[in-house]
């Protein structure tokens, strides 16, 4: 508390340099928001008006009609549902599996640990296109009659969940292993001597202590998986099965006839990530830097 008030006191003298800095930062911030504000403005105007008066013009009327139209015409709720069906299991599974790996490599001193962690971390850094061709073939090969709608791993939510989990667990295992390493060894040591099983150590002692890191990763993963474009583009063939961000690409050609409607559709797609970000800003930023600070 004392440092905060001290800093607040430091702030009070208004120097010209400070004002200049504020002007500069405010200008930059506005420039940064400009494309989004522009999209917002375009989305709030009817097509007829903009085509008659041009896009850079004063509005006669502003409304949210484009948003409701885009939402209804393109059956967006359905695509949001697809995303939910992919993202929720993918985030939970990724956290579960990567925390187990992290527990294994950080709390025990097996010889493979370092190598294992290297394999996971390096895998996450690979560009997705490096693996897509064989993956695509593999997904076409695997028959899952009755389990997925398509009867294959290809063109199914399950297929997307699996690749998200496999890919993202690299990053999460790295971050969680670092985190778990910072927990005092006496904790698990004592429990182990008392006869607790390895599973108990993981589930009842280590995992609850990892809550802050898990929350940060969950936020990050939700946004990443929600925003995925590439996997769905290649591994889903039926437009109906696509998650929202990839579906948008199809929708803009199929349903939307005017740019104002496209703008509204794109902005609608961004709303869930914006909500997650604004509500969980701290977790999101700390998640990004959890992995980066360790370098």
């Amino acid at each position: 508390m004392s440092t905060v008030s001290a800093l607040a006191k430091q702030r009070t003298p208004v120097r010209p340099a400070r004002i200049l800095l504020h002007v500069f930062l405010a200008g930059c911030a506005l420039a940064w928001l400009a494309p989004l504000l522009w999209a917002m403005y375009a989305a709030m105007r009817p097509y007829a008006e903009t085509s008659a008066k041009g896009y850079v013009s004063w509005p006669d009327e502003l409304s949210l009609d484009n948003f409701t139209n885009a939402f209804e015409q393109s059956d967006m709720l359905h695509y949001f549902g697809n995303t939910l069906l992919i993202a929720v299991p993918a985030v939970l599974l990724t956290l579960f599996l990567s925390s187990m790996v992290a527990f294994y490599v950080s709390r025990f001193d097996f010889r493979v640990n370092l190598f294992l962690l290297l394999v996971f971390t390096a895998g996450n850094l690979l560009p997705q296109q490096v693996i897509i061709t064989p993956l695509y073939r593999l997904y076409l090969l695997i028959d899952l009659p009755g389990i997925t709608m398509s009867g294959k791993l290809y063109d199914s939510a399950l297929g997307l969940v699996l690749i998200h989990v496999a890919f993202q667990s690299g990053f999460c295992a790295f971050v969680l292993a670092n985190y778990m390493r910072s927990l005092p060894h006496e904790l698990t040591e004592a429990a182990l001597v008392d006869g607790a099983s390895v599973w108990r150590l993981y589930w009842q002692i280590v995992l609850p202590l990892c809550k802050p890191a898990m929350a940060a990763l969950a936020t990050l993963l939700s946004i990443w998986i929600y925003n995925d474009f590439f996997w769905a583009l290649v591994l889903i063939s039926t437009g109906e099965n696509m998650p929202i961000t990839s579906a948008l690409n199809n929708l803009s050609g199929q349903y939307f006839t005017d740019p104002n409607l496209v703008a509204a559709g794109a902005l609608l797609t961004a709303i869930p990530t914006l909500i997650v970000y604004f509500v969980l800003q701290r977790q999101f930023v700390s998640g990004l830097t959890l992995g980066a600070n360790k370098g």
């Binding site: 430091q10 930059c28 370092l114």
Partner: protein, 340 residues
């Protein structure tokens, strides 16, 4: 801390008596597990593990590893194998070994390959020269504990939260020759005066790169802000006591301490440049002027032509470049961690 201690004892009290602290007797690798070389705390665990614990641990590490290795590393290896073959994707007996033919064709006669490499390099150079220093500059300014810092931060960081697909659509509204913001403002939206930001092969790469830089700046800013938080305030104080001005302090004191962050930033930027895909795909599907290696690979799958060997050869080029960055970085990172 008290909570954790309670959990610890609670676990001990209620655990099944049968598994209590009985080391599997006479297990060879318990005795000779290399205690001589490494006397680290976790080593003691091994002696306490029951057979069931070992099984549990095996499963805990094994299941995720199998999934990861199968879907990521085995497919990467398969890419390498397929790069030396031709295959139309129908039936395994159609796979033909052709040696280096795909690579030869790629390097000598594919008109899109070298431009794609060049564009990937340009992508990296632009990202490291413009948004990265800008992100650092903004981070340094926002680190001064000024008013509205959070508001500015949010404005710069917002693009990082959006999907590349959405960013692509938003920037199309800016670039559209007829209805876009730029042409409308400069009066280039009339027939005969059009500036086609997305269609012109001399312009479109730069247009996409502006959108990519728009996003990258916020990302870099956050990484540097985190790095700056780790700088010891005493350093700053000492520097100002020595009479250094703001720029001197930054150049001689703060920036050198940001070395770990700089490494991360460099690696992240290279990886982003190699991964670049979504934005270009939404813009113009990587048509003339914006080819990228990632786009060429993808075109072999979702395009009409299914030339799997050829696409894999491009993927291998991408893989080799990526690993050349990833492996040294990870080795350095992990070595540091071991020492710590």
């Amino acid at each position: 801390m008290t909570v954790t201690a309670k959990t610890g004892t609670g676990t001990g009290a209620t655990s099944t008596p049968g598994t209590a602290a009985v080391p599997p007797p006479g297990h060879p690798d318990n005795v000779t597990s290399g205690q001589a070389e490494r006397l680290r705390a976790p080593l003691g665990h091994r002696r306490l593990l029951t057979r069931r614990d070992r099984l549990t641990l095996g499963l805990m590490a094994g299941v995720p590893t199998i999934l990861h290795v199968l879907l990521v590393w085995l497919t990467a290896l398969a890419s390498i194998a397929l790069a030396f073959t031709t295959w139309d994707g129908i039936g395994f007996d159609a796979i033909k070994w052709v040696g280096l033919q795909n690579f030869r064709e790629l390097f000598t006669s594919n008109p899109q390959f070298w431009p794609a490499v060049e564009h990937n390099v340009t992508w990296f150079v632009v990202l490291i020269l413009i948004p990265t220093p800008l992100g650092l500059f903004l981070a340094v300014q926002l680190d001064k504990n000024i008013r509205f810092s959070k508001v500015y931060q949010t404005a710069f960081f917002l693009p990082v939260v959006l999907s590349m697909a959405v960013i692509g659509f938003v920037w199309q509204l800016v670039y559209n020759p007829d209805t876009g913001l730029i042409n409308s403002l400069i009066g280039a939206n009339k027939p005969g005066h059009y500036i086609d930001w997305i269609g012109d092969p001399d312009l479109n790469l730069w247009s996409v790169l502006i959108a990519a830089s728009w996003r990258h700046t916020g990302y870099m800013m956050i990484l540097y802000l985190a790095g700056l938080k780790g700088v010891d305030p005493a350093l700053r104080e000492a520097s100002s006591l020595d009479g250094a001005n703001e720029w001197q302090t930054f150049k001689n004191v703060i920036f050198p301490t940001l070395r770990p962050t700089n490494t991360v930033v460099l690696v992240v930027t290279i990886i982003e440049a190699l991964r670049a895909f979504d934005l270009v795909f939404v813009f113009n599907k990587g048509a003339e002027g914006t080819e990228l290696l990632s786009i060429l690979v993808t075109n072999n799958i979702i395009g009409e032509s299914s030339r799997i060997g050829y696409g894999s050869a491009i993927a291998v080029v991408l893989l080799v470049i990526s690993l050349a960055v990833i492996i040294p970085y990870l080795i350095a990172t992990f070595r540091k961690e071991r020492r710590a």
